[in-house]
């Protein structure tokens, strides 16, 4: 039996190495997506079996005899021992957001190979390790948050810097995600109607749950899902109606203001009316679509059309500027290493773990599942013809406004595409145009639509069903981005109130309405400002905002890994410190390089300050494109982006130095190496309770 098991794992490891080697070395011809699926699946299995179990057994010494907070503090609600597979699903649903879908689509501008390798290797050696250790740490500390643990284990300065960093990241994230939705819906009456319809559907669900059938969430979500499908069909009718279509054909600026107003209202309305029902609906649709995509890829087994590497590895990419190092590694965050996961791993999940051993499948395993979602997004994007991929994702500022000129520009890069072909594709998708639909969501929706159309009995209908599936995918992406925006604005409000309460006590009170309204407005104004800036940007906004978001998210991961390293040093000295220091060192190198280039690069497409200087020079020379007021705003925006990037760097440098001070103190014996874990209590949980 042992021999058989050894043989099995050797075969899995060999398959992972062979498939990864295959796609890395033989990239002269078209590659089938199954290679990526097998390479990723086997690498995850081997990583989980060997590296994950090694960390669980040797490094963290998970002990099933030790009672978890779910058992000791059991209250039937937050603290409740939960079956490990249910908790796995719960945790996965919490960490899986739009990031792992959008990031890989944007990073595909370098080709499928760099992003795929980073997603697989980054998740196994970095992302899953971070999630697992932070989950373990929180579980051993009664479910404390990342900020609380940083304050206790590193110091007060580190804890405060972590709180400010999280708040800044939240604002950037909300702006960039809102921009993805704006770019997906502008000029699209079908998409705009479908997304607008999700709001009355959510309100209907809220009223249904509160007054008609209290507690029947699954029943209500099933009705809500059916209404969502009806809304997609309704959107088609609206798009072809000469009287209704103009009402839902909105410019990017109008959509941005609509989202800003929505964000403010959603953070002020009662949670049960909009936020909670939308949250339920979004979770179920998200899980269902991810499952559908996995099945679709296995059924259709599409060929990858994008090459392994494109010419844009040299930093001249039209979607975002910058070389493969460091920009590929900050563009894909959530599918490989995401700092945001550390907030979830120190939130609800540690309060529901029944046995310490379950932290491995939940913490490490769920991150691998999220990484697989990123691989599926990469596959969906790479199944598009390269010319189509660049036509959809490159901004009008690069391509030119006229379809013929845009097609000629893309063809000159070596990726043939025609204006007529793009017009046909837009007609199939039920859109007016698919040129310059930046943000990643439309190209992902196109790729998903092809996979879904090819994997269903209606596949024979081909072009006729592409429009439905395209808008289904747009609805799916926009639905949970809007959920992120409304919930994120609310969370941001609580964080800012927490911070401002130190300055003036009434501002910290969540029941004081002037404070609530004022702080909500401040949060919405902060991300709304960045959103408007993105909409005005002639390069589409994604070029500047997505890297800023990637840098911020990876810097948060660096904070989480600083905490994890501190805990490992307190537990074992230097023995196992490489487990967290290797990904920490890589992330610090990548993010500091990227942030430095974003601020100081002399290339205007990359460096914020160079961009501001170029605009300033063009204004003085009288060659600026657009009204003077707009150019002044763009200059201010570029300088502001540089300042935000600089603040993030300073904050993380402060946390790194503070952590180093603690590590050196412990290793030299001048600082106490006391872990702030809860005391050991023997578990009395019976097997049938798991």
């Amino acid at each position: 039996m042992k021999l058989l098991r050894t043989f099995f794992w050797a075969a899995v490891a060999f398959a992972a190495a062979a498939c990864l080697g295959g796609i890395a070395l033989f990239h002269g011809e078209r590659v089938n997506s199954v290679w990526l699926v097998v390479a990723a699946g086997c690498a995850y299995a081997a990583g989980y079996r060997f590296y994950g179990k090694f960390i669980a057994a040797r490094v963290l010494a998970l002990n099933d005899l030790r009672a978890t907070p779910a058992e000791r503090l059991r209250n039937g609600q937050d603290f409740e021992p939960t079956n490990k597979w249910i908790l796995f699903g719960h945790h996965f649903a919490a960490i899986a957001g739009p990031g792992p879908l959008v990031g890989p689509v944007l990073a595909a501008q370098f080709g499928y190979l760099p992003g795929t390798l980073w997603i697989v290797i980054g998740a196994v050696l970095g992302g899953a390790v971070q999630d697992f250790i932070i989950l373990f740490a929180s579980m051993r500390r009664d479910g404390k948050s990342l900020g609380q643990m940083a304050r206790e284990e590193i110091g007060k300065a580190g804890g405060f810097a972590a709180l400010v960093t999280v708040l800044l990241i939240m604002v950037i994230m909300l702006a960039v995600m809102a921009l993805v939705v704006v770019n997906a819906l502008r000029g699209s009456p079908w998409g705009t109607f479908t997304i607008a319809a999700t709001m009355p559907i959510a309100v209907f669900m809220g009223v249904y749950l509160r007054y008609w059938r209290p507690g029947k969430v699954l029943e209500c979500s099933a009705i809500g899902s059916a209404l969502l499908i009806a809304a997609i069909f309704g959107g088609r009718a609206v798009a072809v109606s000469p009287s209704l279509a103009p009402w839902f054909t909105l410019s990017a600026m109008v959509l941005a203001w609509a989202l800003i107003v929505y964000g403010f209202l959603a953070s002020a309305l009662p949670v049960w009316l909009l936020l909670a029902p939308r949250g339920y609906l979004s979770t179920f649709v998200k899980l269902g679509v991810i499952l559908m995509l996995a099945v679709g890829i296995l059924l259709v087994r599409p060929q990858l059309q994008l090459p392994a590497f494109t010419r844009f590895v040299d930093g001249t990419g039209p979607i975002f500027a910058g070389k493969i190092f460091p920009f590929c590694f900050i563009t894909i965050a959530c599918g490989a290493v995401s700092g945001f996961h550390s907030l979830i791993a120190s939130g609800t999940t540690p309060k529901m773990i029944a046995r310490e051993g379950h932290a491995l499948p939940v913490g490490y395993g769920a991150m691998l599942a999220e990484s697989f979602v990123a691989i599926m997004a990469m596959i969906a994007a790479c199944t598009l013809q390269p010319g189509v991929y660049f036509a959809v994702n490159a901004p009008a500022g690069v391509l030119g406004a006229a379809p013929e000129a845009a097609a000629a520009t893309i063809s000159s890069w070596g990726f043939p595409v025609s204006a007529a072909g793009m017009a046909d594709l837009a007609r199939d998708a039920g859109e007016q145009t698919l040129f310059a639909r930046t943000g990643g969501a439309p190209s992902l929706a196109l790729g998903m639509a092809r996979i879904f159309a090819g994997g269903t009995p209606f596949g024979a209908g081909g072009r006729a069903v592409i429009g439905f599936w395209y808008h289904f995918a747009i609805m799916f992406e926009a639905l949970f981005i809007l959920t992120l925006i409304d919930a994120g604005t609310r969370v941001g409000r609580f964080m800012l109130q927490d911070l401002m309460g130190h300055a003036w006590e009434p501002l910290g009170r969540t029941s004081w309405m002037p404070g609530v309204i004022g702080v909500s407005a401040a949060i919405v104004a902060a991300w709304g400002f960045l959103l408007i800036q993105g909409v005005r940007d002639p390069l589409g906004g994604i070029n500047s905002l997505w890297p800023l978001f990637g840098i911020a998210n990876q810097l948060l991961a660096a904070i989480a890994l600083c905490l994890a390293t501190t805990i490992l040093i307190k537990m074992h000295g230097l023995k196992y410190v490489w487990i967290t220091c290797a990904p920490l060192g890589w992330l610090v190198t990548v993010t500091f390089t990227a942030a430095w280039q974003k601020i100081f690069s002399p290339t205007p497409a990359i460096g914020f300050l160079a961009q501001a200087a170029q605009l300033d020079a063009s204004l003085r020379a009288g060659t600026a494109i657009g009204p003077d007021g707009t150019v002044h705003t763009l200059i201010l925006n570029a300088r502001l982006d540089a300042v935000v990037c600089g603040i993030l760097l300073l904050l993380v440098t402060a946390i790194l130095l503070d952590s180093l001070r603690v590590w050196v103190g412990i290793l030299r014996g001048v600082r106490e190496a006391r872990l702030r874990e809860s005391p050991f209590v023997a578990s009395r949980l019976r097997a049938e309770e798991l």
Partner: protein
């Protein structure tokens, strides 16, 4: 077949957990109160209040 049934049960339990139906059931059992519209409202108010302070992942 048994494995499939077990998988189905797990999936259903996961859906109930994500929908907060299991948590509500546990609360009823813990407090000994009967299921009612008022009780559900109380439960959701506490739960949503706690949840709305936790960040959502990107």
């Amino acid at each position: 077949m048994r494995q499939l049934r077990r998988l189905g049960k797990l999936a259903w339990a996961l859906l109930r957990e994500l929908a907060d139906e299991s948590a509500y059931q546990r609360r009823l059992e813990a407090t000994g109160r009967p299921d009612s519209a008022e009780e559900w409202r109380r439960f959701t108010e506490e739960r949503y209040q706690a949840r709305s302070t936790q960040p959502k992942c990107c």
